[in-house]
């Protein structure tokens, strides 16, 4: 533990800016993954344990797309759409068959896919660490804000995540599709009785959640090194985020993700070996005092 370093950092503007921007980046990417996880849970009532693998797949698809097209925006879009499509297939042929089954079977189907996808990535892209490198468009001098260094890419990444968050909020609260999704989450039987195809809704929500995870993987590709199995730690983190924010709540996921992002970046200065411990501590406290999460609606 190094509390002096933490206080020293909190005393200097430049350190605060640098750490905050790092924390926001971590939080933004985490939000995209957690939003899909929480959306799928809110509507379908299942937790997609393979969600981290979707993120991994997104990063690798983006890597390949970038190497082919040399266009980062295109690569990120390809990652989102590609993984979204994969999630659709996964839902249609595998997950759908165990919705009504025991948790045990849902868990095992996802477990099987985590194992399979890790090995598929190994076969297609190789087992060693890979990195995309910073795209040319972002290879500029970093910004200096209040003495702190903020890479240009971070600003774009935050803007992209903010845009997606806004879009998500708009779709869920202001459009007909959003209304249908919320209705299916609240009362699937009634929604189905009103003539809406709940199977289709489930499939679309699952695919959309996959798309978000893939997009997150694609967006993260320039700043993260890739390896098979990289999806697992983000799965655990996004689970912690959804517990803190409240299962099924997208705004809660945003709050939780930013919180975890900041805990990670400042915690790595103060308690480098205990960062994960602090995240768990935060989760444990929330679970004890408000089991439904910060923005949850009583489900526990």
């Amino acid at each position: 533990m190094d509390l002096n370093a933490l206080f020293e950092c909190l005393g200097s503007m430049s350190c605060i800016v640098t750490q905050t921007s790092t924390g926001l980046i971590v939080g933004a990417l985490l939000f995209l993954v957690a939003a899909g996880l929480t959306l799928i849970f809110g509507v379908l009532g299942v937790i997609n344990f393979a969600h981290g693998s979707f993120y991994m797949l997104g990063a690798y698809v983006a890597l390949s797309a970038y190497r082919i097209t040399d266009n980062y925006a295109l690569a990120a879009v390809a990652a989102g759409l590609g993984v979204g499509l994969f999630a659709l297939v996964f839902e249609r042929f595998f997950m759908r068959r165990v919705y009504k089954s025991d948790v045990l079977l849902q868990l095992l189907v996802c477990y099987a896919f985590i194992l399979i996808l890790d090995d598929v990535v190994k076969i297609v892209w190789g087992a060693e660490f890979q990195s995309m490198g910073m795209p040319k468009a972002f290879q500029q001098a970093p910004l200096f804000i209040g003495g702190g260094v903020v890479p240009v890419f971070y600003v774009y990444l935050m803007a992209a995540a903010g845009l997606i968050a806004g879009l998500l909020w708009f779709i869920l609260t202001r459009t007909r599709a959003g209304k249908i999704i919320r209705a299916a989450a609240q009362n699937p039987g009634m929604t189905s009785a009103l003539g809406l195809n709940t199977r289709l809704i489930y499939a679309s929500v699952f695919a959309f959640g996959g798309l978000l995870a893939g997009l997150a993987g694609g967006l993260a590709a320039p700043v993260r090194s890739m390896s098979p199995g990289m999806g697992f730690s983000i799965l655990i983190e996004s689970f912690i985020v959804t517990v803190i924010g409240g299962m099924g709540s997208v705004s809660g996921a945003l709050l939780g993700a930013l919180l975890i992002g900041l805990i990670r970046s400042f915690g790595s200065i103060g308690f480098p070996l205990f960062v994960e411990g602090i995240m768990f501590l935060a989760m444990g406290l929330i679970l004890v005092y408000k089991p439904s999460g910060l923005m949850g609606k009583g489900q526990s």
Partner: protein, 324 residues
């Protein structure tokens, strides 16, 4: 059947199984069989203790290997760092696992269904990362190497494979018998009632949280014994013991063997071990192969092997319907 007869019958089966296991090296003294059985003792305890939660309690833990790993580390560390005897180290390891399970369980058993699964998984990853980062104590990702001292006690010398074999068999069979008796006791039936109808149990004045916590602690301790056997077998402890894939395999073992028959998980453990040994000899893509087999079982058969036999038995006229 009266309760007394049943426990006598279970004990007789256990004694017979132990006798057969101890006689096995006389028939086939090859190292392969001995190694296989020792590993099976360890993993079988992991799977059966997990089934106390999953099959009997309806609590699908996805982090059960954390107690397996804790048992292995606690046992090895006790022998390496202190001068205690093997039984004391064993006891310490089991008590440590029980305490750990009490703390983690107190938080986890409040939750149900998939929440419980995920939370146990998350705690397991916390424990795993502690093992990885606390290099000074645990050896980090290299694992706890250097071998463990095995002082001789009451004529048992655990540096001999033969003695490790007998020790493991006795330990595993005794633990299995105790678990079986526990599950046939009023406690076991309370656990089943909580699985099937929690409201009714609550009306009868049962404190669900407490019963589940006890089950969680007991399961953790038995998994710890499994870890101790594994530590003896590999002469140390490795972070992989408490990694999530180990828990995933344990969950698959009990699903494959069948969760409704007490010995199903042991059968599942044996099958998965044979499968793993075959796969790793033939391909490096172990995950891919295992994943496909899991999909075959979960989506194809949708139940375990002993469940299939149980289904058949129903059709036999004068079938002896023991168990549950």
């Amino acid at each position: 059947m009266s309760g007394l007869k049943r426990w006598q019958k279970d004990s007789a089966w256990a004694a017979l199984a132990l006798l057969l296991l101890l006689a096995l090296p006389l028939l086939d003294p090859s190292r392969v069989v001995v190694d296989f059985i020792i590993r099976l003792c360890a993993v079988g305890l992991l799977a059966t203790s997990l089934n106390m939660l999953v099959g009997y309690g309806g609590m699908v833990s996805f982090g059960h290997a954390m107690f397996f790993g804790s048992g292995a580390y606690a046992f090895s560390l006790m022998l390496q760092k202190t001068a205690v005897s093997v039984p004391v180290a064993l006891l310490t390891a089991v008590v440590f696992c029980g305490l750990l399970a009490a703390v983690i369980g107190a938080i986890c058993v409040r939750l149900k269904g998939i929440y419980f699964s995920f939370l146990t998984l998350a705690f397991q990853m916390l424990l795993h990362s502690i093992i990885i980062t606390w290099t000074g104590l645990t050896g980090g990702d290299q694992g706890l190497t250097g071998g463990i001292p095995r002082p001789v006690f009451i004529g048992i010398d655990l540096s001999k494979t033969q003695h490790v074999y007998m020790f493991s068999c006795v330990l595993a069979v005794v633990c299995l018998l105790v678990m079986r008796l526990l599950m046939q006791s009023p406690f076991g039936y309370t656990l089943r009632m909580l699985r099937d109808n929690e409201d009714r149990a609550a009306f009868l004045g049962i404190n669900a949280w407490r019963v589940r916590l006890y089950a969680f602690i007991l399961a953790g301790m038995f998994a710890g014994v499994g870890g101790v056997i594994m530590a003896l077998f590999v002469s140390g402890a490795f972070p992989d013991f408490s990694y999530w894939t180990m828990s995933g395999e344990a969950v698959f073992m009990i699903m494959m063997g069948g969760i409704h028959v007490f010995t199903g998980p042991v059968l599942g453990a044996a099958l998965l071990q044979i499968f793993n040994d075959t796969i790793t000899r033939n391909t490096q893509y172990h995950g891919l192969a295992l994943g496909l087999v899991i999909l075959l079982f979960t989506l194809g058969f949708q139940r375990g092997i002993t469940d299939v036999f149980k289904g058949w038995r129903k059709w036999l006229p004068a079938a002896n319907k023991g168990g549950h």
